[in-house]
Symmetry: C2
Subunit: 458 residues, 2 copies
Amino acid sequence: MSVDAVLNQVDADLDNAMNRLMELLRIQSISTDPAYKPEVAKAAEWLVKDLQSIGFKAEIRPTTGHPMVVARHEGAGPHLLFYGHYDVQPVDPLALWNTPPFEPQIEDTAKGKVIRGRGASDDKGQLMTFIEACRAYKAATGTLPGNITIFFEGEEESGSPSLVPFMKDNAAELTADLALICDTGMVSPGVPTIAGSLRGMLKEEFTLKGPRIDLHSGFYGGPALNPLREISKLIASLHDETGRVAVDGFYEGVSEVPAEQLAMWKTCGFDEAAYLGGVGMTKAHGEEGYSTLEQQWSRPTVEINGLWGGYQGAGSKTVIPAEAHCKITCRLVGDMDPVDVRAKLRAHLEARVPQDAEIHWDSSLDGAKAAFMDTSRPEFEKARLALTDEWDREAVITGMGGSIPIAGYFKDILGMDAMLIGFANEDDAIHSPNEKYDVTSFHKGIRSWVRILDRLNG
Amino acid sequence: MSVDAVLNQVDADLDNAMNRLMELLRIQSISTDPAYKPEVAKAAEWLVKDLQSIGFKAEIRPTTGHPMVVARHEGAGPHLLFYGHYDVQPVDPLALWNTPPFEPQIEDTAKGKVIRGRGASDDKGQLMTFIEACRAYKAATGTLPGNITIFFEGEEESGSPSLVPFMKDNAAELTADLALICDTGMVSPGVPTIAGSLRGMLKEEFTLKGPRIDLHSGFYGGPALNPLREISKLIASLHDETGRVAVDGFYEGVSEVPAEQLAMWKTCGFDEAAYLGGVGMTKAHGEEGYSTLEQQWSRPTVEINGLWGGYQGAGSKTVIPAEAHCKITCRLVGDMDPVDVRAKLRAHLEARVPQDAEIHWDSSLDGAKAAFMDTSRPEFEKARLALTDEWDREAVITGMGGSIPIAGYFKDILGMDAMLIGFANEDDAIHSPNEKYDVTSFHKGIRSWVRILDRLNG
């Protein structure tokens, strides 16, 4: 049987595939907010039913957090495990959405048709590319392709607290010859991309406590320690004037990118002007002396993701608040160890807490090392050829600035390599208002998996 | 008629007076939040009715903002204008209140009975001390005391936008021989205090805009400008390492406190350990080289009252937000001009805004110069003697760290001096959760006004 029959089936069924995706996008599966727990469960159930409908043996697998979805099709060929996540980011600030985040729609834009809605790109649209590829195989050939396990989690956007225990408890079931992960993007529109490395992540949150109670800035302004001023000084101390992280020992474990890799990055189709200009930047604001791609793919960061304290309402309030709050994430590279980086970051800040203030850390937040793929495995070349066929453009192996801890867990816990292939674009506004997924990404993404499965099983 | 009969009437009617105050405290007159506009109006109407019930000719006087209350009793003696404000601060953070802020109650505490609720001290409890003194005169003598105009505003906690236009439009009606203002505190519990000076105020608010949209810290962390980091640097730049404001020219117009005044401050009963320790501080955190009282009464400040941006919800969100926000108030002293200070503050921050960021100022916020009372007027000595009689402790004339722009407006617009006498205590938690007013302050405050009116009319 030729792969063309399956590709034709993908083309013929595209409208139905988009309708199925939009059904999944209507489910408000925000995992970080406990209020949405029933919606997260609903998304898992939707997926189980859909997978069962095309012949997978699929089931909900409860955890102490949100459930996993595991599905199995036993067949010939290498055992492939496909991973995706069905949970989504919060939608705030809601006022900046042009359409309701959970009422997805197909829109015509200057750059082509897009599917608009929270999760369209991250990661419901992406995981559905693989399901739709399987569905097309089933429709065109009467059977699902090869030897597949599907593994979806619902906690990726909230630190995956259940993931490692679940993988340990179900190691035999989840260990395949290779993991396929679809949660990454293309380096530039139309350039098929395999991720060679991912940055790691460390999450932190702290409260800086000052006066025992909120104070009046007339009665106490001057003598009082102001936590908002002090937290600003703490944050300002994290970087030097060249953009370098000023935390002692922070760069231990970071290695420079080899020259040949840098050379490949320069020709990988990355459009720096579009990347920066698209979000209103005229230059890269990271460490001086490193290119935009290096800052994004191979350099560690300390970013502030949330900062608040005092009065935020309309008008003015002459308050010196009792406390201030800060959420931080660090991106890690090379051999940086999240436990070690956490200790250094905390030591840096604790050493700078002034008299009469206290720093309180949230102890619930996790971290993961950077991940490097074994791109010498033959599956990478097969996938590269399949992607090159589909996109009429040489596929590239690049770095990735994001953190998908699962790749590291697959390696460390299950001894399984992973291959990350995704079809998101830089302007998808994932984690932002007005998230979208290009219909081209969705359509050619499905076709890409058909071709990749054909080559991996060939 | 002896003043004792009036004082006895005050004592006999205290429970009723407290019930009346609690009725007023139940009205949620938060002026800064437009949602509470009807409640602000309700408080004004309540006051008009109460003043009419004791013989004042009282009325609501509409403005483009919240209404004024003006009441008049023509009688013999110097024309005295009493000022207070019936609006209150917002109540957030609501979770820190031990009782609902608008369900006032009398509580027994280790330091004696208190009236608990938003506005109990600032300023409903204080303004009611004067009304209750008048009521007692009326009950004991059959007539209101002397020659009185009462003037209450409902916008004091939101910048008094209607105050100056109203005073200009009604200058003849509002110009008396002396203004009495009850919106200040006692330097230490039991030490009757007349304010000799007040700090001025400048309000500012800005938004720092960075990326065009919220960004994912994996895709953009490194190259992206992070408004939360940048706003922290801006705020950290406002002070040097000695606590001195680092804004160029900020201290122009500030004069040192004369030695004899400093000497008086040292013996005025101010309990530094109680003042600092009561809110969890072991030292004064303002400018090095100045005492706690100097930092509070005679030195200018730049304080951050609100700071926010990015994700504030439960869990983590890997976002680099598009913008960050900051609310500032400066306390001004000496001849510092708010218009001039505003220009300097803005210039300081604008010079530090990085490439690809923009600062946007709220243009609706106002300012007022510091105010100095003419304590050589004979009314000050009369009031000092009356207060000394009531409190069995020499009354003192001190500085004040707060800003009550009305004193400056009375002088500048109406050519009228003001005398500020109030009975609040440092631990009243005004502008904070669990605001309270000591029953002693309320009771002896009423009695103080009876004695002051007796001496001023004597």
